[in-house]
Amino acid sequence: MTTSRQTDVVARFSRRHRLHPLEALPWLLIVVSFFLFPDYLALGAQILATTLFGLSVDLVLGYAGIVTLGHAAFFGMGAYTAGYLAAHGVGAPVVGMIAAMAMAGAVGFLSGLIILRAQGLSILMLTLVVCVMLQEAANKATSITGGADGLQGMEVAPVLDLFRFDLYGKTAYWYAAIVLFLGWLVARTLVHSPFGRSLTGIRENVARMRAIGTPVFGRLLTIYTISAAMAGAAGALIAETTQLVALNAISVDLSGVILVMVIFGGVGRLYGAFVGVPLYMIAQDRFSEIDPTYWYFWIGLLLVIVVMFARGGVLGLMELLWQRLPRRRDR
């Protein structure tokens, strides 16, 4: 009798949080990759950090419906915060990460206050403009950011005083994986919560949500701030694992690329970033090794082909294929 009670509890927990066995797959892959690809850990760490960045973009893009061409503003703020601290004696990575999240979240909150009332093309342009202005500011504030040469003199301490960042990227890999896991937990909880549902409602039909009394602006501002903090964490990850911060971390280029990666993966499905970012980055890495001069072409072609075959990115494509499979259960 106790057994069935226990199964009951597990079943209810599972249903409420909808833990699907497939959701363990990314984490399995991450662990397995560590052992299968020991020469690629530096790239792996960068992919993991960028996935966290992509996840933050998906939160606002796929769930709140805010198309942003300026999310690197928060990523960059996080990176520069962590970098600045590391260059001025505060090298503990975890401290840097928390500071980065606070800073990026603050910037997200302030910019969200100003721009989130807009819609459509306007909001896209406003996010872009905020990013480009911060990029300019970073370029000018050479004494703080190092300007175009990048932040110099970063000395990142070992994680928790135990794990030094090595040349092969082992520490970087696990550090990034753990931070990504935490970020994923946060995102997942948010998305499956009533708050998350209301965001989807806002995305689909703002007027109706307003009619039922939802504080739309407040919700949007909240998710925007959380997303900014998450992006800041991703930026801190890159800064700490590479011990570098340069203007490309706060650039419109990066904002555009991360947007493309998330759309490529498939928005609004929580795992778009987990699919899109690694696929895109690995494709880019492979293409540029095979054809260093024209790899742009193959990446572009890949994007066009994916869209032509299915809407909703790679996940959309997978869904399409899944639906085409003969189903035994239907009988």
Binding site: L61, V67, I114, I115, A118, Q119, G120, L121, S122, L124, M125, L126, L128, V129, V130, V132, M133, E136, K140, V252, G256, L259, V260, I263, F264, V267, T293, Y294, W295, Y296, F297, I299, G300, L301, L302, L303, V304, V306, V307, M308, R311, G312, G313
Partner: protein, 290 residues
Amino acid sequence: MDSALSAAISIAFHGTAFAMVLYLVSVGLSVTMGLMGFVNLAHGVFAVAGGYFMTTLIFGLGIPFYLAVPLAVLAVALLSVPLERFLYRPLYGASDLDQVLMTMGLVFMSVAVGKYFWGPTAQPFYPPTALSGQLEFGLRSFPAYRSFLIGSGAVLVTLLWLGLDRTRFGAQIRAAVDNRRMAQSVGINTSRLFTLAFALGSALAALGGSLGAEIMAISPSYALDHLVYFLIVVAVGGLGTIRGPFVAALLLGVSDTAFKYLLPEFGAFFIYALTMAVLLWRPRGLFGQA
């Protein structure tokens, strides 16, 4: 005092020339985005294609400028038809994001194609002899080619305005922009209209790209380099209008030049601050329909 006035005239002049190039390229984007609701981030590709065809005709085949430009524009317009049919049309109903993905893919491909056929360096361009040098107006002189650009821009906006206000085609486009379903129900063949409008937008872009090669150099990364500026012009001007991008381009072109002159340390910054101010004040752009 006199030199301040002189500087002001120079700034206004050069800013306007730059604005005309921006306008020529961006007006097509305003039409396609406003008419078809299609987020075409690859618009710059048609502009640079016009530029590449023009310079190849001039320097590869020795064709004079006055003939090369219309030929280049025509070539791009023709090329846009199959592109619209096979790449754009299937995505008319798709989400904005899917459109972004497809058009960004096109942009990336165009960068590689440009580099492959024409190399990474910028294409040479010198205006024809009749349009180069300086125009003397008493005490002042103005660069002839930039004067030509300003003149062309003014002529074009007039033609477009008349074309869209006075002709049937223009009326149909306006109808379809306002309400596509109604337009269809009164018998307007919106598919064909879209193909024509797309071709027109691409042709305009090609015209802007080729005439503007003097100011905005023709290089493989053109479509990426200038994307932000084109988007700003269209957003600030308002989608689906002819006047909107014109005023926006003027505002941006002249302010950009003026700020760079007056406060070079912060030159680029002000344009973005200005864009932000306008968009917060008028979220649909200066002339956008509510």
